[in-house]
Symmetry: C2
Subunit: 585 residues, 2 copies
């Protein structure tokens, strides 16, 4: 060992003892004939002291140290005269008697501090240096803790961690597969799993009863901000359970993680149906850290002569508490916000509920005080509040209002990062209509079971069929989702048919699973958590990239190792493929 | 929940209570107006009783049950009249009052029992049924336990589990990479990692101090028996340590696993150098469950007129205790064994040490009693033992004798599967000569540090340079291996050069790592265990395939899902590749 203690370990009780430390030079400074060096490792920082009077040569060596040099230092632990209570080791310092440079360092291209001067690109290129910053180390250590606590809970609950294969079969359904040419099977390809879905279901058929895996998944999608081509899931499946059992089990997991990682006791997680979530929040992943739920105003706002409302399918409002004081400028900014192309509202109606009991609105021309009062009453507004109203086609108006609600939540500071509000969203629709492909696609995935009471709608009104599907939402972000699966070949065939899959195609792609259902498949259900996202949310951050040791950029590149890259001609030959450059049309 | 208890849970204390079970029908039998059903799940088997006198209809339903039907049964727990002490639930049975078929089953293509009638191929195709066999379930559960205990030990030892990327850069060095065409980066490919080697070293440079991961690795090799294209490693790395620290740490891991998985206390793991291992066992992974070490006989066997020996570089023998009674037939079989082309010895010399103190050998013509006694004395043989001697070129003779020693160990029952003997093999050569490529290749990998005392041989006698490399061997199989790494750019460049890599190529492939070494790289070392192999060995089995939930066959195929497979034309187009069938020369 190059050390007897870590840089975060020394305390008063070590005073007078001889120790050896090793670590990185955080900074050096000279003061009154002494060189002070902050020595850093994963565990903390310890102050080293080199005294000119004691050893001038050693002091000269210390003076020559640059930032990020790796050194080994021997010396005596001493109580500090000027204690630093911001550091765990701040009561002591190490009076160096020997020092050895283990590894020199060029000047790093950015400062290795939480508030670094390095931009995103340079930090990605030198990720091994970026990873040294304490803030990033904390993220990676948080991830470690969440993983271990998840396993601890699942192990105790009787789950088995079972590894499923990475080299599987390409069955593109929704997202694109990454594929891997097989050298031993000419003209054939493996695919990397988008999830271990079919394998975990087979494990249930195989009698493993409770399965989990913290595993990598792959999706070859055009990368939106903060999406990674490879990402990690906590993937789980249970046999002989109903939806209620699954909700309780994974609510237990969420509570366990919050308790043992953050020491926060999470109360019972509330539940809302998809339909309710859309009606009250215009979102299938409502942020319930704050209220400001939607009020539908059709009955009090329509047929009063305001054509925009009268033509609308939905008139919907929110009440922003205490915002009647918003200035013209602030209100204009809100209007601009909802009119941005990404949101696409035609306009925004406001009503100020003045302190004196009067109302001031942007539609005073059409609505007198009494009519505005009816809105305010319906929305439970009081003097000082601001009503914001959007109208239009129901689905669009709700989406727009959702954006506005979240924006108001931000403006009013109601979305605190250290406030953790979990929510179950239930009863998702089984299908959604894919405009481009002009067909129904599975909202969750094709293995999700429809609700028994909606079976009869499968032929007559597929869009109205609800699924035994559920999402766990945290602070307005989907943390995980799952469903009760189909375990009957006939029903599975019927759903494939609904999705426009021919019998042949279904057998070709998923024959192994449907075949398995014929040999005694237990009822089963499961759930997968987005692990990167979970780490980011629990770390109080937005970007998952900061919680992945070696992330890719938005072009799917690892700029540190410069991947992907060209391969040798020999590799092409062995794999029986060749490049076929895109021809511009 | 479909059940109140599992099929392995009921005991006498449950007698008279009403319970619900769910599981698979293992077998049914009719006896004196009753139907007995063995109901199976992951946890065990419970006997169900259907009584004609009580409920004839229910009894008829039970009679109709086939093997592997999934049922749910309600009833009262009763003490059995005829107890079965071979079953954990054998004191009780469930008197069924209600029964529901949750899922019917076709007749399975093979019996779901440890001694199945199904051949390898059919079991691979129906792997979800094979996985139901209790023996296989035990393997998968053993794997789970080993994984959890490994993590438990490493977590307690301050390691962080950190995930490294799967989509990396192709740097073929030794084995072939699996590659993944990048759609977003035309003409470029990712590679799947053969190991997280460079990333874990970068994590050390980044200050993470102690890293581990139980992770999948990929090698596109022609599959020898019991090799898988994807396999799992327990991958570890530690900073600021020397070889001794690593050996102690991972010896601790091995002991922990043996203690907590098998309740076996492993004593200190003995150590042997590579050179010693070759001299005494003719193998770099000696099976030390038994002795029978080699004795070099050149001084007593050469220059006595037997040309075969006189021309040999090495004459080497082993002493098989108590085998002087071997018959002519047995001795001929041993000779045939060593002459098999896979082993390739020219012949085998034997000496029987008779009980009466005389010797009988196959070379009596050249060696009189006195001379044979000299052999026996040198080998520490006693009356009743059998000496077996091979000669030839040193390296080949040792390999041949290694095979013979292992065979004798088998014949004498000295290689017990429940006897676990660990061994460290140290001081491996840094390089080995690759005949085909006519160059030195890294014996471990190119990041392994040469021993400082051998630096001067790097130019003059590269083959003699020893590395700071070590293997952990269990019962004659390599369980894991590792090395102290190079952490200095200059030394790393020199090793790449030794391996015949041009400066440009080295920078192109590993520039990111060498660059990282210039920013303060700590001394570091690590090790990786072959997890599949570890599970198999600890499960007392030879084949890793039985310890992998969904293994591939020897052609790298998953015959259950039929992968790899053809991909769509659209996929080819999007990836900018096309098929280039092999042209026969």
């Amino acid at each position: 060992m190059y050390r007897t203690h870590t840089c975060g370990e020394l305390r008063m009780e070590h005073a007078s003892s001889e120790v050896t430390l090793a670590g990185w030079v955080q900074k050096t400074r000279e003061l009154g004939g002494m060189i002070f060096v902050d020595l850093r490792d994963r565990y903390g920082i310890t102050q080293l002291v080199f005294n000119k009077d004691q050893d001038a040569d050693l002091c000269d060596k210390a003076k020559a140290l640059g930032r990020e040099f790796v050194i080994q230092v021997k010396g005596e632990v001493m109580e500090r005269t000027a204690k630093n209570d911001k550091m765990a080791t701040g009561n002591v310092e190490l009076i160096a008697s020997e020092m050895k440079v283990l590894s020199a360092s060029k000047t790093p291209p950015f400062t290795i501090e939480n508030e670094t001067d390095g931009g995103e690109d340079i930090r990605m290129k030198y990720r091994f240096l970026d990873l040294r910053r304490p803030a990033v180390q904390e993220n990676i250590m948080l991830r470690h803790r969440i993983a271990q606590e998840s396993r601890s809970f699942l192990n105790k609950s009787g789950f088995l961690e079972i590894e499923t294969p990475f080299l599987i079969r390409s069955t593109p359904e929704g997202a694109r597969d990454f594929v891997v040419p097989s050298r031993m099977n000419e003209g054939q390809f493996y695919a990397l799993p988008q999830s271990p879905q079919t394998f975990k279901q087979l494990l249930m058929v195989a009698g493993y009863d409770r399965y989990y895996q913290i595993t990598r998944c792959f999706r070859d999608e055009d990368l939106r901000a903060d999406r990674q081509p490879e990402f990690t899931q906590i993937d789980c499946e249970i046999a002989f359970v109903e939806q209620e059992d699954v909700l309780n089990m994974f609510e237990g997991l969420a509570k366990h993680i919050m308790k043992y990682v953050h020491n926060i006791d999470v109360a019972e997680v509330p539940r809302i149906t998809f339909a309710e979530a859309m009606r009250l929040y215009g979102s299938d992943k409502p942020d319930i850290r704050f209220g400001m739920t939607f009020t539908e105003l059709n009955d009090v706002a329509q047929n009063k002569g305001f054509k925009v409302f009268d033509d609308a399918e939905l008139v919907v409002g929110i009440c922003a508490e205490g915002c009647a004081t918003y200035t013209r400028k602030q209100l204009d900014a809100l209007t601009d916000f909802v009119k941005r192309p990404q949101i696409g509202a035609k306009g925004l109606v406001y009503v100020k509920c003045n302190e004196d009991g009067t109302f001031k609105s942007s539609v005073d021309k059409f609505f007198d005080q009494e009519k505005l009062k009816a809105w305010a009453d319906k929305m439970g507004a009081k003097a000082g509040d601001l009503l914001l109203v959007i109208s239009g086609v129901k689905e669009k108006a709700r989406k727009q209002m959702n954006e506005l609600r979240l924006e108001m939540g931000n403006q009013l500071g109601l979305r605190k990062k250290d406030d953790f509000k979990f929510l179950w969203v239930l009863d998702f629709p089984l299908l959604e209509w894919a405009e481009e492909e002009e067909r129904w696609v599975a909202r969750h995935h094709p293995f999700t079971s429809p609700k028994a009471e909606d079976f009869d709608k499968m032929d007559t009104d597929p869009g109205a069929v609800r699924a035994n599907a559920y999402d766990m939402v945290l602070n307005g972000t989907e943390l995980g989702g799952g469903s009760v699966r189909i375990h009957d070949r006939g029903l599975q065939e019927r759903v494939f048919e609904l999705l426009g899959m021919s019998k042949e195609e279904a057998v070709e792609k998923f024959g192994f699973l449907m075949g398995a259902f014929e040999f005694g498949a237990p009822p089963h259900a499961g759930l997968a958590f987005g692990f990167d996202r979970m780490c980011a949310l629990l770390g109080g951050a937005d970007a998952i990239r900061d919680f992945i040791a070696f992330p890719k950029n938005n072009s799917g590149r690892d700029v540190m190792i410069d991947a992907p890259s060209k391969i040798d001609e020999v590799q092409y030959e062995e794999l029986c493929i060749r490049a076929a450059p895109k021809v511009e049309a």
